[in-house]
Amino acid sequence: MRPDVKRTGLVVALLMAITTFLWSTPFLWTLVASFRPETAGGIGMASLVPDFTPTVENFRNAFESGDFVVYYINTAIVAFGILAVQIVTISLAGYAFARLSFPGRELIFYVFLLQLMLVPPILIVPNLRTIVDLGLYGSLLGVMAPYFASAFGTFLMRQTFRQIPRDFEEAAVIDGAHWWQSLWHVLLPMAKPGLVAFSLVSLMAHWNEFLWPLMVLNEPRTHTLTIGLAMFALSTEGGREWGLLAAGTLLVMAPLLLLFAIFQRQFINSFMFSGLKG
């Protein structure tokens, strides 16, 4: 390598190191502040230097003042509930688009494709009315229902199924298998990367969602983590409980960051795969 190229590389690396450090300061602060003992008047709360003996007091208080356990359970029900139904709907629809030919296929496919752009948040007002009409207002099912079908997931499964050679199913069909048997035993196991990609994107999108659950859910016992955190943040306003808020925020982010740390490669692949959120 030429020396000037090498030097450029070093400068870029240094610049990126600084940028990344600055980019990460909000997280660093959360980490430091959540273990910091309560200080008088909140002075020094902003310091990123951990010049104290760490305490778990903030986490204990967070658990006591917010119903974090309930929020965790509700959020998990919503995120995994949506995913479970989606996997069924997108596998069936993806199979139809990938393997069957039928009149109107193009048109119906465009009906799906258009929904990629008409993302649910833009329709919160009429959808809330539909949820009320269905008697689902205030329930977790009401939060989940609009997401049970996923155009993006269907699109992804169609692509995934198409990449699998037909020979495998043909062998199964010759053995007398029905379409659902070849879907279940042949296609789905081979479509695992696509399913994992979709699952990660979908789980994250719905774990993080705020506005729609906020509109549908009307009592604390059904609240999700994001609603709990928002209430928590608003009640901290003016107070000195910054350590508490930091701990609460960390509790909300932790599962995602942990999942990301474990499945980093899959996460990155699935996001590049997706573009649009589940």
Partner: protein
């Protein structure tokens, strides 16, 4: 059919199950699509018709009766200064977040495109903000932006700079939200540029280097044009985000101070949820939907191309 079967014709007895089978096979695709289509109809297409219809009516909140008002809601919407401001705010917000986060995303991608351990760590750290809920980001920045004692002012004071009232000053607040959005999304868009860079033909880049192109020329005249499909794809995602994400507005500013951070979706939320001005909310929703639809007509092809490039 039955009469033929009753006649005991051998052929007809055989034909019956075959016909049933064919019918089943013909309807199979539609049966498989039915659950998804039903749900899409209920929560995407019917709601659009519903807002279109209901934007023409005035719903008496107290009486519950609705009266036809024609385009009255649209007139009220355009007469409402807060709506006009929310559109202007949204345009500023788009102009502030989209080009900046996309440019940063491209720079980041160029800087960390080689697969080294250092780059892997940098990528992961830059991606972190896009993994967390916008509400969590908002609650972090709640403290960071706190006047006087917050993270920003604390460290700015150390280098002798006086901070601003980041969320309380009408001239600054929207830019603070823009900052949060750029921080949160740049790493996410970086992923698409990383994918895009991998698809670039190596020979072309090499040829450009041999021809004596400087790094800047190579970027300006070779890499950026070749990445156009990726850029179009990221642009669509970024524009959708601009129209559909207001969690930070709800947590941090509630549209204030003096409407300076009111974005269109927040305006809709407020009209429907707090002012019970349902007709106005429906009219504004329909305008947003029309905008997205118009955008989608122009970008469906690009998007399909972009997804292929990304996968």
């Amino acid at each position: 059919m039955t009469t033929v079967a009753e006649a005991g014709s051998f052929g007809a007895v055989r034909a019956k199950p075959v016909l049933g089978h064919r019918l089943r096979r013909r309807s199979l695709p539609y049966l498989l699509l039915a659950p998804s289509l039903l749900l899409l109809a209920a929560f995407t297409y019917a709601p659009i018709l519903r807002v279109a219809w209901e934007s023409l009516y005035d719903q008496g909140h107290a009486t519950g009766k609705s009266t036809f008002v024609g385009l009255g809601n649209y007139a009220a919407l355009f007469a409402d200064k807060a709506f006009g401001q929310s559109v202007v705010n949204n345009l500023i917000y788009a102009a502030g977040t989209v080009p900046l986060s996309m440019a940063l995303a491209l720079l980041f991608a160029l800087a960390v495109q080689r697969a080294t351990r250092f780059n892997a760590v940098v990528r992961a750290l830059l991606l972190f903000p896009s993994m967390i809920p916008l509400v969590a980001a908002a609650s972090l920045f709640f403290f960071i932006f706190l006047p006087g004692v917050g993270l920003f002012d604390y460290y700015l004071a150390k280098i002798g700079v006086r901070g601003a009232n980041w969320l309380g000053d009408p001239d600054v607040a929207l830019w603070s939200l823009i900052g949060i959005t750029v921080w949160k999304n740049a790493g996410y868009y970086m992923l698409f540029y990383l994918a895009g860079l991998q698809t670039l033909p190596g020979e072309v880049l090499e040829a450009a280097t041999i021809d004596g192109c400087s790094g800047w020329q190579r970027l300006r005249y070779v890499i950026v044009p070749l990445l156009a499909p990726t850029t179009a794809f990221v642009l669509v995602i970024a524009l959708i985000n601009v129209l559909t994400q207001v969690d930070h507005v709800i947590v941090l500013t509630k549209g204030g101070p003096s409407n300076s951070t009111k974005l269109v979706l927040y305006y809709i939320y407020e009209q429907a949820h707090e002012n019970f001005a349902y007709g106005k909310a429906a009219a504004a929703s329909l305008l947003s939907v029309s905008f997205l639809l118009a955008m989608s007509v122009f970008s469906l092809k690009t998007m399909e191309r972009g997804t292929h490039a990304a996968s």
